[in-house]
């Protein structure tokens, strides 16, 4: 196996946060799948297999956090554009607050550990 414990830790953190990263990208406006994947792919470790974004998007849609519509694209055939719903926005806002609290707490503890 290539992935050690660190690798699986990163993949678990990714699993827990990627839905919100997708939703955060959609806050700026609607995007189609390929565009979303490439935007996430710019962040190291966020996307290991591009195709895995589609089951996630389908799940977010089923949960009513995003919705999709077919729209003409500037170039090429019509594409399925995803956008954030009201309930998606609420859920994202809640996550951002939780995340700030959580990461502050972890950062604090990690700093403390270094001083002793």
């Amino acid at each position: 196996m290539v992935e050690g414990r660190q690798g699986s830790l990163v993949s678990q953190m990714r699993r827990g946060t990627i839905a919100f990263c997708v939703m955060a990208l959609l806050r700026e406006g609607s995007r189609y799948g390929f565009d979303l994947v490439r935007a996430l792919g710019g962040v190291d470790g966020m996307v290991t297999s591009e195709g895995t974004i589609y089951p996630l998007l389908a799940r977010l849609r089923r949960d009513g956090l995003v919705e999709s519509a077919w729209r003409e694209s500037p170039s090429g055939p019509p594409r399925r554009y995803y956008e954030l719903t009201k309930s998606g926005e609420t859920s994202l806002r809640e996550f951002i607050e939780e995340w700030a609290r959580f990461s502050d707490a972890v950062d604090g503890l990690l700093r403390k550990g270094r001083q002793t």
Binding site: F34, P55, A58
Partner: protein
């Protein structure tokens, strides 16, 4: 020999389709369509369509087994490795009552409800269609059927025979589709 990019991509999509076996048809077709579109867009960014470039592009899209594993995870598709519990349940529900009247079938029902392999609805179906399993029509056949059987009795006898076979076959098919998913998951466990 150079593989045509179309063939490479078709092969990839076929693999994905196979990995997605066990998903509801609508979900499967939608995921396939999305990945197909994704590949079509990724193709437009390639500088050439050489074997190597197409292969690298498909590797970026990801191992079909990984995509299917993610889908199972996101949609909490049941995956089971059928064992003695499941096979025991199906066998006892069918013919347990013949081996040990009533009790054999009841044990089958208990195993059915203990197993995580079926949904509550499916368990209810297995319990209610038909209590006693094949023991009921067979006992009726041995003890209660006189030569002068009316059409109503004949029909009832047929239903009592066919219904449990149908409901247990349905449970077995469900079990098989879920275990197919589990086998693929084991194959892609190094995600």
């Amino acid at each position: 020999m150079s593989a045509n990019p179309e063939n490479q991509i078709d092969g990839y999509l076929k693999d994905l389709e196979r990995e997605l076996r066990g998903f509801p048809r609508g979900r499967r077709l939608e995921l396939l369509a999305e990945v197909r579109d994704h590949i079509a867009q990724a193709r437009t960014t390639l500088s050439s369509e050489s074997d190597a470039e197409v292969k690298t592009m498909l590797e970026r899209v990801g191992d079909p087994a990984d995509i299917a594993a993610e889908a199972r995870d996101r949609f909490e598709v049941r995956t089971v490795r059928p064992g003695a519990l499941e096979f025991g349940a199906l066998i006892l529900l069918a013919i347990g009552g013949l081996v040990l009247p009533i009790i054999g079938w009841v044990v089958g029902v208990i195993l059915l409800w203990i197993s995580p392999a079926w949904t509550s609805g499916e368990k209810l179906l297995g319990t209610l269609v038909v209590p006693g399993g094949l023991a009921v029509p067979l006992f009726l056949g041995v003890f209660a059927v006189s030569p002068g059987l009316g059409p109503m009795e004949r029909a009832l006898f047929g239903v009592l025979f066919v219904a449990p076979v149908a409901s247990l076959t349905y449970l077995a098919v469900k079990l098989r589709s879920r275990s197919a998913a589990a086998i693929h998951e084991a194959a892609s466990a190094n995600w």
